[in-house]
């Protein structure tokens, strides 16, 4: 029996710690493949410490965690004192109110906070950018606060209430009594609450994702964007270090506590060593906080310009795989400008983010039909082409396009086609006859469908022989029916997740953008690309624009100009594998790309392609509705997002309680004997 117990315990620990073990082993692996350990290396750690961006993100996370913990601890302790002084009935009510944010699903808290911040920031204060460092911090305080209150309350209840009276009796004002006596009594609760708040803040993703602005991003939010591509092993190294840090922290805490307990049992006076250790810890914590604040101060104070570029995922060369790091190159050429990249998944997401307000971006790279729409809705700024001399390199055929007839708002970035990527190992060549391949029941469960309404309807329209820009509702309904018919066959509706799934051969057929298909074909030789010329296909252009919310228009134009430099454009295409609208860039591209028929199809093929145009607001909504209905198992309406009021209420309640605590301390005290 005893033996069985021991085995069970060991199994439990194995179960708990095996993921960490895999991560740690992976961080020391020489090979890139996590399934094979090839040799021991510290190279990933070296690379981690060379990666300024990653370290900055880590710094951001730690900074926000430290600050939010500090604020939560201060207000939480005050709030606990306030709640404690309430009558028992009220105390219960307030306690359950403060506990709600902990049990509330993060996603609800996140969305409602985001709504609240945008409402207050954009609606009431007329801020350009309502989501920023402050809102992120506030959000983290919101969920850190309850943990502190929850941990401090029991300590207050255990405390002999006469201690406060005794301190006041001996000459302490209520505030002094708090700092000289009560704080010592509740300290264990404050510390454990603080640690909980700290760890919650450090690893929070869901809430942060909704309240993060473009100026300050935490590590988990950034790491999320990595999941679309295999994570670089240096990230494993960082996680290993983080895990080690937390592990050591918890171990020390427990050891100190154990020593503290033993001290009490032995009834010996506090040893000198213990006192010194305590002081050291306090000192280190204080230094961390000060350094963090300085860091914050410095980053806030810099006179450099920050240029926010909002781009598709993996749509700009970043220095990996031997390509040029365009951001670094740009920052080298213009040292006063810092570029911050953030990513969106689809034109529709970009549109929603921009129209809901609450973000600041300077450069966006939407597709043709979306530019059409944004121009129509007056969301873009006119460009000053004086600042973009390299526009002259752009091929004539890409100037004055249908979506921007006078070429006032956009400069083309890339162009390409949408076709079918399939795995030759599993797909019979005889089946590759057109878009109907996407509906072939032979491959049920192995088909990936592109996850945005416009491209999905486009594919259905080409298959059914309709005009891609039709506004005929009967035709659109037919397309939706076609897509609904496809649903049981589809493994997943994907955008960037397509990479892993196709490369790992978890799916065999997918409709996607030619450039991305090229990238995947490099990783897996069995993949092939097919363009259904006879049925038609989408020919798209992505172009750089400056949205109305931009703060740094001139820097944005510098950036656009930089991207039109043939050398830069060529280097960029090497990474993203799309076609450049600048012919001169071909000279700077790798030959296989410049000559690839997938990237640059023949003229005759191109003529079969067609571009999407902007349909009216009404049709766009109609199509989106049909698309959601046809493809989504759980039909989530975007209109009934939870309101911001519950969280607002809780924040208000917590602040009131904190105020109450302050009143108890600073005001006159009345309590029943």
């Amino acid at each position: 029996m005893k033996k069985a117990n021991r085995v069970l315990t060991i199994l439990m620990f194995v179960f708990l710690y095996i993921p960490m073990a895999v991560l740690i082993v992976a961080s020391f692996n020489t090979g890139k493949d996590i399934t094979r350990f090839e040799g021991f290396t510290l190279q990933q750690y070296a690379e981690l410490f060379r990666d300024q961006d990653l370290l900055r993100l880590l710094g951001n996370s730690v900074l926000i965690a430290l600050l939010s913990t500090g604020i939560s601890v201060a207000f939480g302790t005050l709030a606990a004192v306030g709640i404690h002084s309430l009558k028992p009935k009220m105390r219960k009510v307030v306690m359950s109110l403060t506990n709600i944010p902990m049990t509330n699903p993060d996603i609800v808290t996140g969305v409602s906070l985001s709504l609240l911040f945008v409402f207050v920031g954009t609606g009431l204060l007329n801020q350009r950018e309502s989501l920023n460092f402050g809102t992120l911090l506030l959000a983290h305080v919101t969920f850190g606060l309850p943990y502190v209150i929850l941990n401090v309350m029991p300590k207050l209840q255990q405390m002999n209430p006469a201690l406060t009276d005794a301190a006041m009796d001996l000459g302490c004002t209520p505030v002094k009594a708090f700092f000289k006596v009560i704080i010592h009594e509740v300290m264990p609760g404050v510390v454990s609450g603080g640690i909980m708040a700290f760890t919650m803040s450090l690893d929070d993703f869901v809430i942060s994702y909704f309240v993060t602005g473009s100026d300050f991003v935490t590590l988990p939010v950034e790491i999320y964007t990595y999941t679309k591509k295999p994570i670089h092993p240096k990230v494993y190294a960082m996680f290993t270090l983080l895990f080690g840090l937390i592990f050591v922290l918890m171990l020390t805490m427990n050891l100190l506590q154990l020593r503290g307990d033993r001290k009490k049992v032995n009834k010996r006076p506090a040893s000198r060593g213990w006192k010194i250790a305590r002081r050291c810890i306090a000192g280190v914590a204080a230094v961390c906080l000060v350094v963090g604040c300085c860091f914050l101060f410095m980053s806030g104070r810099q006179e450099r310009i920050t240029l926010n570029v909002y781009n598709w995922g993996m749509n700009m060369a970043d220095g990996t795989d031997g390509t040029m790091d365009l951001v670094a190159e740009f920052e080298k050429r213009y040292p006063h400008i810092d570029v911050r990249m953030s990513e969106y998944e689809s034109n529709e997401v970009l549109y929603t983010k921009l129209s809901s307000g609450g973000i600041t971006v300077d450069v966006i790279i939407p597709s043709d039909y979306m530019i059409d729409r944004m121009i129509a809705e007056d969301m873009l700024l006119e460009l000053d082409f004086q600042n973009i001399p390299n526009f002259s390199y752009v091929d004539e055929q890409f100037k004055n396009p249908d979506y921007d007839p006078e070429n006032k708002y956009s400069v083309p970035y890339t162009w390409g086609t949408v076709g079918i990527l399939y795995n030759t190992k599993y797909v019979d060549e005889a089946d590759v006859t057109g878009w109907e391949l996407m509906w072939n029941e032979k491959y049920a469960g192995k088909i990936l469908m592109i996850d945005n309404s416009r491209d999905a309807f486009g594919i259905a329209q080409y298959l059914l022989g309709y005009d891609v820009n039709t506004t005929d509702k009967a035709q659109l309904q037919a397309c939706a029916d076609k897509l609904a018919q496809q649903r049981p066959l589809v493994q997943q509706y994907v955008m960037d997740q397509i990479y892993a799934t196709m490369e790992n051969e978890e799916a065999y057929i997918a409709a996607y953008y030619a450039g991305d298909c090229m990238l995947m074909m490099e990783e897996n030789e069995d993949l092939a690309f097919y363009l259904p010329e006879h049925q038609g296909f989408n020919l798209f252009t992505d172009a750089m624009c400056i949205p109305k919310c931009a703060k740094e228009k001139e820097a944005a134009e510098l950036f656009i100009n930089f991207m039109c430099d043939p050398e830069i454009s060529g280097a960029n295409m090497d990474y993203i594998c799309y076609a450049s609208p600048i012919s001169a860039a071909k000279e700077h591209m790798e030959d296989y790309l410049a000559e690839s028929e997938i990237v640059y199809p023949e003229e005759a093929v191109l003529e079969k392609g067609s571009a999407y145009a902007y349909l009216s607001e009404e049709i766009s909504r109609y199509v989106e509705g049909l698309y959601q209905g046809a493809t989504k198992i759980n039909n989530v309406s975007t209109d009934d997002e939870p309101s911001g009021s519950p969280v607002a209420l809780i924040v208000v309640a917590a602040l009131l309680a904190a105020g109450g605590g302050a009143w108890v301390l600073f005001g006159r005290k009345k309590r029943k004997s």
Binding site: N160, A162, L163, D165, A166, A167, M168, D169, L170, G171, C172, T173, K176, K180, V181, H184, E185, K264, K267, R268, P269, R668, K669, K670, R671, K672, S673
Partner: protein, 373 residues
């Protein structure tokens, strides 16, 4: 006696509509040892907390040295308190606990050291300064609490049932200790207890309280010998309380018999309460007794026997050093000075009948008193 230090005028205290104090009027002299005595919930602790400044009275005033201090917070009063369960600061050692008040007052370091060490001597805890307070026994913690309050040299020391948590032996020692400290320092003590013996043996003045009202104020001897009503008579020591009629001055009639007493000033034929202390009763041969009764119960108490004697259906408690077996017939004699006459009050008929007497009765009431407030 010396000059008046504290005066409570018409103090009333209400919590949630419940009246805890009902018109308390009391003055406390400088250097006095005054005890608030009463059962649980009588308002004695509330009175003490109002003096300490931890509660603000609903109505009435607290006057300290001639000034109203109703609105003065506790940390500005020249008053210190010894709390019911000591309320020592667990994170500080003995020395730091005692030094707490002096440090808050920002006294120079040498002075603090000297005064704390002196105080440690006064409470016989020399050499315990570095000890953790949780490692001390109850009595030692008690003395730290007293030292912590006294080191500030307050004008008044408030003690809220300070000996309640100690065992009997230690309690007796500490009673003497407290009295000694009070006399040595000359500080006014306001002492709260439910233990009448403690109150009588230590105090200069005893204030008996019940139901938020003062029942009697007086020297311990007066309180014992001349209780004002049945409540006081019963609460302070044991009493046989009987209904009687005051025929004239010095003449009282009960049990169908007229006795001579030392009380006067009542209306003719006024109904009164007659108090006879059990230790004042002389047992004589049945033939010589004013009254004759039968022993129905006997309890050995060490110093004496408590015997229950039935007189015409009414049971008395009599304390005697001689053994009288159950069933024995005895006679009693009452001298005029053994009979104390009280006016009828709301308490008449509630106390002084030993029909349901049992030996454990005393202890039961004491236990209940421990849980006070």
């Amino acid at each position: 006696m010396s000059k008046e230090l504290i005066r409570l005028r018409d103090l009333t205290m209400e919590f949630d509509g419940e009246r805890i104090l009902d018109g308390i009027n009391l003055y406390i002299n400088d250097h006095e040892f005054l005890t608030l005595l009463g059962p649980s919930g009588c308002g004695k602790t509330t009175t003490l907390r109002i003096i300490g400044g931890f509660l603000t009275p609903t109505a009435g005033t607290v006057i300290f040295d001639g000034e109203c201090i109703n609105e003065v917070p506790p940390y500005k009063r020249q008053i210190n308190t010894v709390f019911q369960r000591y309320a020592l600061f667990p994170h500080l050692n003995v020395f730091d606990n005692i030094a707490f008040g002096l440090r808050v007052a920002k006294k120079p370091k040498e002075e603090i050291e000297q005064r704390v060490n002196h105080m440690l001597e006064v409470v016989s805890l020399k050499g315990y300064g570095h000890r953790n307070v949780s490692s001390l026994s109850g009595g030692q913690q008690q003395r730290v609490a007293i030292a912590r309050a006294l080191v500030n040299e307050p004008k008044v020391l408030l003690l809220d049932e300070p000996l309640g948590a100690l065992d009997l032996r230690l309690r007796k020692d500490m009673q003497n200790e407290l009295k000694r400290i009070q006399q040595a320092t000359g500080i006014t003590f306001v002492y709260v207890t439910h233990d009448q013996e403690e109150a009588l043996s230590m105090s200069d003045t005893v204030v008996v309280m019940d139901k938020g009202r003062i029942q009697q104020i007086g020297k311990p001897e007066d309180i014992y010998n001349e209780p004002k009503n049945a409540f006081v008579a019963d609460f302070i020591g044991e009493s046989n309380i009987l209904d009687g009629i005051m025929l004239a001055d010095y003449k009282v009639k009960f049990f169908g018999r007229t006795f001579t007493c030392v009380d006067a000033g009542f209306e003719p034929n006024e109904p009164v309460d007659v108090v006879i202390r059990p230790e004042d009763i002389d047992i004589v041969d049945p033939k010589e007794g004013h009254l004759v009764g039968t022993v129905t119960g006997i309890t050995f108490k060490g110093l004496n026997y408590d015997i229950i004697v039935e007189f015409k259906g009414f049971k008395w408690l009599i304390q005697t050093t001689d053994f009288h077996p159950v069933g024995a017939e005895i006679g009693i004699r009452l001298n005029p000075e053994d009979i104390h006459i009280m006016q009828k009050s709301e308490y008449s008929g509630m106390f002084g009948d030993y029909s349901s007497y049992s030996a454990e009765y005393d202890e039961l009431t004491e236990d209940a008193g421990d849980g006070e407030e």
